[in-house]
């Protein structure tokens, strides 16, 4: 660290957290009321989101300012790194719940409804769902949502996979650039990464449109629709978050932040991006191909 003072920096009087709590409270309260059909709830939700954006902006500005002033030493930097990596681990577990649901249905409860398995599966099928044969993809024995076509892996999903893989590559090039101290190159390649992320999101949005209108594949299309949209949607949400992070880092790079030694924010965003990337590979394999 070039300009760091010694000693672990302990900030005093943090005012952003309470703003964040109020923001989250407003957001959640609004969202819940909105779900219950209240128009006021919708309004409250957006107010809450505005507070959250304000808070994040303020909080991060403070931290960025401190970082630029050289307030942090190497140990603080390590704390940030740990924080980010454990946060990503928690996200992995969050996805784990949805992947778990997918595996459970496909390997256990689905076949059970179709009559395979010991101790009651045969009667379950014979007595309750006698006309049902289990084959994935399925919308369940009651044909919830009516007929639909599943999403193949060839075509747009494959394109998206390549896009994301390629964005991982551009992100890494940007990383090498900043490590060499070439900030401009970093900004250029980061720009490419963000652009790829946005294209990915666009393609995904088009895919959803296609699913709803051409394939009749909806959130309500039984368990296939549920898992498909939950996993890809949750992932898409993370792509957006990651792209925003990268964009922020890019703008900071343009403002002259980051040095060859000190660019943790870049790394955090890059880790996140790679994590999103890896999750997509899991999705591509288990949601699309198999």
């Amino acid at each position: 660290m070039s300009t760091a003072t010694d000693g672990y920096y302990i900030p005093h009087e943090a005012k952003w957290p309470i703003v964040g709590s109020i923001g989250l409270f407003t957001t959640f309260w609004g969202l819940a009321s909105w779900f219950n059909g209240s128009g006021l709830g919708q309004f409250t939700f957006f107010v809450g989101m505005a507070i959250m954006v304000f808070m994040l902006f303020g909080w991060f500005s403070t931290v960025v300012g401190e970082s630029q002033n050289g307030t942090y030493n190497g140990q603080v930097d390590t704390s940030f790194r740990m924080c980010m990596s454990w946060f990503i681990f928690s996200e992995v577990m969050f996805f784990g719940a949805f992947f778990g649901a997918l595996f459970y249905v496909r390997n256990y409860s689905g076949p059970w409804l179709g009559g395979e398995g010991a101790g009651g599966a045969d009667v379950t099928n014979a007595v309750l769902w006698s006309s049902y044969d289990y084959v994935w993809p399925t919308d369940g024995p009651a044909d919830i949502g009516g007929g639909f076509q599943s999403m193949g892996w060839f075509g747009l999903p494959l394109v998206n996979t390549l896009l994301l893989l390629f964005s991982g590559l551009t992100c890494t090039i940007a990383h090498h650039a900043i490590k060499d101290g070439d900030r401009e190159k970093m900004v250029r390649w980061l720009g490419a990464t963000v652009a790829l992320g946005l294209i990915f999101t666009g393609v995904q949005a088009y895919e959803y449109y296609h699913a709803y209108h051409a394939l009749d594949l909806k959130l309500s299309s039984g368990i296939y629709g549920s898992t498909f949209f939950m996993l890809t949607g949750f992932h898409g949400f993370h792509v957006c978050m990651g792209a925003i992070m990268l964009a922020v880092v890019m703008f900071r790079g343009m403002k002259g932040h980051f040095t060859a030694e000190n660019h943790f924010a870049f790394e955090a965003a890059a880790w996140y991006w790679h994590f999103v990337d890896v999750v997509w590979l899991g999705l591509f394999v288990f949601v699309y191909i198999f």
Binding site: W112, L113, G119, G120, V123, T124, V127, L128, W129, P141, A142, I144
Partner: protein
């Protein structure tokens, strides 16, 4: 001095616990022995592990109390220095492991036996509803509902002021018990029409969840005739505590006789559905149904509970258009506790309770609806139902 306090406290503890033990008989504090081979083995297993746990407890606490009494500063003891010993640590890892293995082997044996569903001689489908059971004898074609006895149901209402001690089996009596033969391996098929329930008869060691849309198997071979009582043991909403199970186990001949009576009754019922009922008959029948099924929410005088359950007395639905009334009762109101009763009540009871609601509590409209009308309505319903019913009413849409 300190020792004195501890001793007095221990005596106090014993003095509070002992008399309370005296209050009840032994049978009220332990798992009862059942009437099937499995349940006796489970009971044996329970006692074995219980005694093992007691012995472990006595040993561990014994050593600890010895230490507490001997190794105190007030006795002038100076603390020893040791703080590890690989030998004892290995010992107290291995010994418990051995004890556990000794417990696991008989446990696994009993479990494997319990899960052996082969060779059953008859099948009964048990369906849970909020809050009653439906029993369907798959081979005999008998089917009926079983729910909390109406007298108990009235007594358990808040502020009912009924003397509960008049009942021998408060909350463990039903209007129509399940009847089964002894000496036969009976297969139970558990499922549910709404939320998860769990069918438990302690005397058989049978407890299985009733999951909507799935069937779980279970079995019992009852050895002694008698009346066996149990409960729903999975939280299933407001009246989860009021969903008893009563099983009458009869010798084979008596059981056969019961079966033929039931079959006659079913036939009789079918013809009853097709005949014209008088208003008085319907109201009389409807009062019973109301008491058993609706009173819990809509209350004895049809006054409801303001803010929670609407009144039937003067209700717009119950005094308005009869189609709306029928639809409300048959299909329920989505996203409210008001469930659809089309699959819970038969045609006669549906017609009766609707007629009753329209003529009781001062709603004297004077109109009636006939059981056979319900029958034809129901057929029309089956097609549109899947659409109307909200998502968690799943199985009802198909059967």
């Amino acid at each position: 001095m300190r020792f004195g306090i501890i001793r007095w406290m221990l005596i106090g503890l014993i003095a509070t616990v002992l008399p309370s033990v005296g209050l009840a008989e032994w049978g009220n504090v332990n798992m009862p022995k059942g009437v099937t081979e499995i349940s006796r083995e489970v009971h044996g297993l329970h006692m074995t592990i219980f005694y093992i746990c007691c012995i472990i407890g006595v040993l561990v606490f014994g050593v600890m109390f010895y230490s507490i009494f001997k190794h105190r500063k007030s006795q002038g003891v100076r603390a020893a220095e040791f703080h590890e010993s690989t030998t004892v640590e290995i010992l107290w890892t291995v010994v418990p492991l051995v004890i556990l293995i000794a417990m696991a082997i008989p446990a696994a044996r009993v479990l494997i036996k319990m899960e052996d569903f082969t060779g059953s001689e008859m099948s009964i489908k048990v369906t849970g509803y909020q809050w009653r059971w439906q029993y369907e004898y798959l081979d005999e074609g008998i089917s009926f509902y079983s729910q909390l006895d109406p007298e108990h149901n009235a007594a358990r209402q808040k502020d009912s002021d009924v003397d509960l001690t008049q009942f021998d089996n408060y909350l463990k009596e039903v209007d129509k018990p399940l009847v089964v033969p002894v000496g036969k391996k009976i297969r139970f098929l558990h499922t549910s029409a709404d939320v998860i329930h769990s069918w438990w008869v302690p005397a058989f060691s049978v407890k299985k969840d009733a999951n909507p849309g799935f069937i779980n198997e279970n079995w019992a071979l009852i050895e002694e005739p008698g009346v066996y009582r149990g409960k729903c043991t999975e939280l299933c909403g407001r009246d989860h505590g009021f969903m008893p199970v009563v099983v009458h186990a009869l010798p084979q001949e008596e059981y056969d006789q019961w079966v033929s009576e039931q079959q006659d009754l079913m036939a009789e019922n079918a013809s009853q559905t097709d005949r014209q009922w008088t208003k008085e008959e319907l109201i009389a029948q409807g009062e019973k149904v109301y008491g058993a099924s609706c009173l819990g929410c809509h209350q004895a005088e049809g006054q409801g509970i303001p803010g929670m359950f609407p009144a039937i007395a003067g209700s717009q639905v119950a005094t308005g258009n009869i189609e709306t009334h029928i639809e409300t009762v048959m299909l329920g109101v989505p996203d409210t506790p008001m469930d659809g009763y089309a699959s819970k009540l038969d045609d006669i009871d549906l017609a009766a309770v609707i007629t009753y609601q329209r003529n009781a509590f001062g709603n004297n409209l004077g109109d009636t609806v006939q059981p056979y009308q319900m029958k034809s309505l129901r057929q029309g319903l089956n097609q549109s139902r899947a659409v109307v019913l909200d998502q968690f009413d799943i199985t009802r849409g198909v059967n």
